[in-house]
Amino acid sequence: VLECRSGTVEVAYYLAKFLVGGTVVVLFAVVSETFEPKRFAGLFSAAPSVLLASLLVTVVLEGTTPASESASGAVAGAVGLVAFAVVSTWAVYRFKGLVGSLVSLLPWAVASLAAYLFLMGAR
């Protein structure tokens, strides 16, 4: 795909990904900030903001076929996200925020990979 695009189109594509991704994430963060308690607001920390933003840009610039592929990969990533969040409930308490987050990335990677291999094998 990379070779087919001219330099300008490619820059526009990644710029669109950055701007739309950042904007949708901030929109969800604004909604999250207006809710109490933290446990409920936390739902929005796992909102599919980057997924929706990425798919929107991909559909507009490349069509639904690659976007659909991307969404099926996101299912595996979301399984990893569950693992991350579950482990971080303990890890953030045990360690500091950033270290706790980094520790939780290991289960994210393992669960994402396992789910990805399972989903691709099931096709």
């Binding site: 990379l2 990644y14 990904k17 950055f18 991704g21 950042g22 949708v24 994430v25 901030v26 604004v30 900030e33 207006t34 809710f35 308690p37 933290k38 409920f40 936390g42 739902l43 929005f44 920390s45 796992a46 909102a47 599919p48 903001s49 980057v50 997924l51 929706l52 990425s54 798919l55 929107l56 991909t58 559909v59 639904t64 690659p66 592929e69 991307s70 969404a71 099926s72 990969g73 996101a74 299912v75 595996a76 990533g77 979301a78 990893g80 996200l81 569950v82 991350f84 969040a85 579950v86 971080s88 409930t89 953030v92 308490y93 925020g97 950033l98 987050s101 939780s104 994210w108 994402s112």
Partner: protein, 148 residues
């Protein structure tokens, strides 16, 4: 908190979601800037990985917990670890909703209009997350009552 008379009321209301638009004034611009940068960056990283490998591998990274890392770190600095841990509980429930949302979109994006597929997908995320939260709140407040 330790007043026995107010115990029942606080335990019931402890989990009940409250919409407080005024809180947005307390939020700092810098926090939103950090989230914008994290969100934009992970979107680009996912796109680059998708272009270098396959779209589905790029898709895995659209669910990368970058925003959660940003939130947990920001909460940890401002408040305390207990609050960050609370945020993770919500995120775990939201992430289950994310699975349902991504699955739905992957199955409908090529058949439905984009707006319908993404819109219903987002609604599914919200519905699954909120229902799971309600179940969690119910179980947790019962646990508190039994303890109290």
């Amino acid at each position: 908190m330790s007043d026995p008379a107010s115990h029942d009321e606080t335990s019931r209301n402890h989990f009940f979601p409250r919409f407080q638009p005024g809180r947005i004034k307390e939020a700092r611009f810098r926090d939103f800037a950090v989230r914008f940068a994290f969100g934009g960056t992970i979107s680009v990283v996912a796109a680059l990985l998708g272009a270098a490998t396959t779209e589905s591998i790029g898709g895995v990274f659209t669910a990368f917990p970058a925003i959660l890392v940003a939130s947990l770190t920001l909460i940890d600095k401002q408040e305390d670890q207990e609050h960050a841990s609370y945020d993770s509980v919500g995120a775990a429930l939201g992430a289950v909703g994310f699975i349902a949302c991504a699955l739905f979109i992957s199955l409908t994006l090529q058949r439905w209009s984009t707006a319908a597929s993404l819109g219903v997908g987002l609604s599914i995320w919200l519905a699954v997350s909120v229902v799971l939260y309600a179940l969690y709140a119910l179980l947790a407040s019962r646990g508190r009552d039994e303890q109290g």
